[in-house]
């Protein structure tokens, strides 16, 4: 299969998938869109994580932070503004917090960056906890309810937007620039790349989509408090999903998020007591046997078929 037919197959397949997802509520039982919504949420978080962290190899452990910032924006503004505006505000606030974070941790690389971002989540969570208790005199907040079908279509639209933006970044010169930063940051700076500016900007861009997802999902959960909104587990899941799918290719994180969310839902409903145990074993197997994720697996197959 040469490149152009490969591209055609991919395009046809993704259009069919989008068409299927868009029409899904018409012929599936009402709980299906509900379940798919959570898959879509993980796809957004994983793809937007991989948008910045994949090529630059900066491991951010603050996905929950920006998701939570979106949620809180939604909770605070939900009653005052129309829903689309609320969602946009959630993304913008998250983008701004992303810019600020990027600016503060400019000099941090490798492990230090990962640990800083993880600490950031704790800081933000405790700050919101303190603020809500001392200033707003509340523990959690009720969020304006939006019907589940609207949420479903919003999440689908956000998935499409995130995937398309990532696709165009990867194909443009900016994709190459981000990759060069990940490969050899010092060399990148010496060929005229303003590494700092690109790092901050694209980190904040990935936060934009995380915040957008948060703003929508808050309305599904109806009630949030800092423990829910800034749940540290959500800092790690996108990383694991992206690694499972493989960050080398665009569809890696999408596959990873899709399959793992599905797997965890099935495990949770079938084996409620052993769920975490099985999920853990699954991860160990994945990390040990699929170092490049599913993307690496397909590449191995392709090589094998070329050889034979």
């Amino acid at each position: 299969m040469d490149n152009s037919t490969g591209l055609l197959v991919k395009r046809v397949f993704s259009s069919l998938l989008v068409l299927f997802l868009a029409t899904l509520p018409f012929y599936m039982p009402p709980y299906t869109p509900l379940a798919v919504t959570s898959i879509l949420m993980y796809v957004v978080l994983t793809v937007s994580w991989a948008m910045f962290c994949g090529p630059t190899r900066y491991m951010s452990l603050a996905t929950a932070t920006f998701f939570g910032v979106g949620m809180y924006t939604s909770a605070v503004l939900g009653e005052r503004l129309p829903f689309p505006v609320v969602v946009l505000c959630g993304s913008l606030v998250s983008f701004l917090v992303g810019l600020l974070t990027g600016y503060i941790c400019l000099r941090l690389r490798g492990f230090y960056f990962a640990i800083f971002t993880f600490g950031l989540n704790e800081l933000v969570r405790n700050f919101v906890l303190w603020w809500e208790g001392r200033v707003a005199h509340t523990v959690g907040r009720w969020v304006v309810l939006v019907d589940s079908l609207t949420i479903y279509y919003y999440m689908l639209a956000i998935v499409l937007l995130t995937v398309l933006v990532t696709y165009f970044i990867n194909r443009s010169r900016y994709g190459l620039i981000l990759l060069s930063i990940g490969e050899a940051e010092e060399a990148a700076a010496h060929i005229g790349i303003n590494v700092t500016r690109y790092r901050i900007l694209f980190f904040a861009l990935s936060c934009f989509f995380m915040g957008m997802a948060g703003a929508v999902m808050a309305t599904k959960w109806a009630y949030i408090d800092p423990r829910i909104a800034f749940n540290p587990v959500l800092n790690f899941t996108p990383v694991l999903m992206a690694l499972f799918g493989g960050v080398g290719k665009m569809y890696g994180p999408i596959l990873g998020a899709g399959i793992l969310t599905l797997a965890s839902e099935i495990l949770l409903s079938r084996f409620p007591y052993y769920y975490m145990l099985m999920y853990g074993i699954l991860f160990i197997v994945i990390i040990s046997f699929l170092p490049d994720g599913l993307v690496g697996l397909t590449r191995r197959w392709r090589k094998a078929s070329v050889m034979s």
Partner: protein, 245 residues
């Protein structure tokens, strides 16, 4: 006026003076060699010029304007490019994309994709890597990796090129073809400052040589003068007293 000048350039690491009070002047179109024993401060001086390190004292000027303490990407855009002593390529990026990146990022004005691609093709031809253009950089042998570093640096359109031990670890044949390449680059109008340990190459290509020792400028002059300079011989070979013992 030289294209690149240093006045009392000084860099301290804690209490250690890695470069101390070094004056230099490089004229447009020259090939200048920077030599000295290990730890003499050659790479530190390169890092100061290219902006990897900030100076503790003194001033570096490019075309008469102060550039010390600018950021690496700013210095590159002004027209000073460099290679690295230990090769720093983008392992998983193709050979042609290295040069493409250099041409789209190395200038202040926005370069069109088509122009950058055309320029990349010419540069890859110059360094002899056209046949390798779709290979990933990590799959090249050392000699070709070093050529790619030169091509990537040239893609940024430099007036001054800093080469940090580009010939270290190469075979005699590879050194010879590299020497030819450096001459070609100079005839294209680029001024070259190079750190090198391969004396055969230094003597053959440099118009002038600067010798550093313990961070201080020990000597400066034509290659044949440097070869006869008593102080330089002492630094490299030890004094007679040592030799007799």
């Amino acid at each position: 006026m030289g294209i690149l000048e240093g006045e009392k350039v000084t860099k301290f690491f804690g209490g250690l003076a890695a470069v101390y009070d070094v004056d230099f002047k490089i004229k447009e179109g020259e090939i200048v060699g920077l030599i000295g024993p290990n730890g003499a401060g050659k790479t530190t001086l390169f890092n100061l010029i290219s902006g990897s390190l900030s100076t503790t004292g003194g001033e570096i000027r490019y075309q008469g304007k102060r550039i010390s303490n600018l950021k690496p990407h700013q210095i590159c855009k002004l027209g000073i490019a460099r290679t690295f002593q230990s090769v720093k390529l983008f392992g998983n990026i193709s050979v042609s994309d290295h040069v493409f990146l250099g041409s789209i990022c190395g200038t202040t004005s926005k370069t069109k994709t088509a122009d950058a691609q055309a320029k990349s093709a010419i540069l890859l031809e110059l360094v002899g890597l056209s046949a390798r253009k779709s290979d990933l950089a990590k799959n090249l042998p050392l000699a070709e990796q070093k050529r790619l570093e030169v091509a990537r640096a040239l893609a940024t359109g430099p007036r001054v090129l800093l080469l940090d031990e580009v010939m270290a670890g190469l075979t005699a044949t590879e050194v010879n073809s590299f020497t030819t390449l450096i001459h070609q680059i100079r005839s294209g109008g680029t001024t070259i400052l190079l750190v090198e340990h391969v004396m055969q190459a230094i003597m053959a290509i440099c118009d002038r040589i600067i010798v550093l020792h313990h961070g201080v400028k020990l000597a400066e002059g034509l290659p044949q003068e440097i070869a006869k300079n008593q102080k330089v011989i002492e630094v490299y070979l030890g004094t007679d007293a040592y030799a007799e013992r």
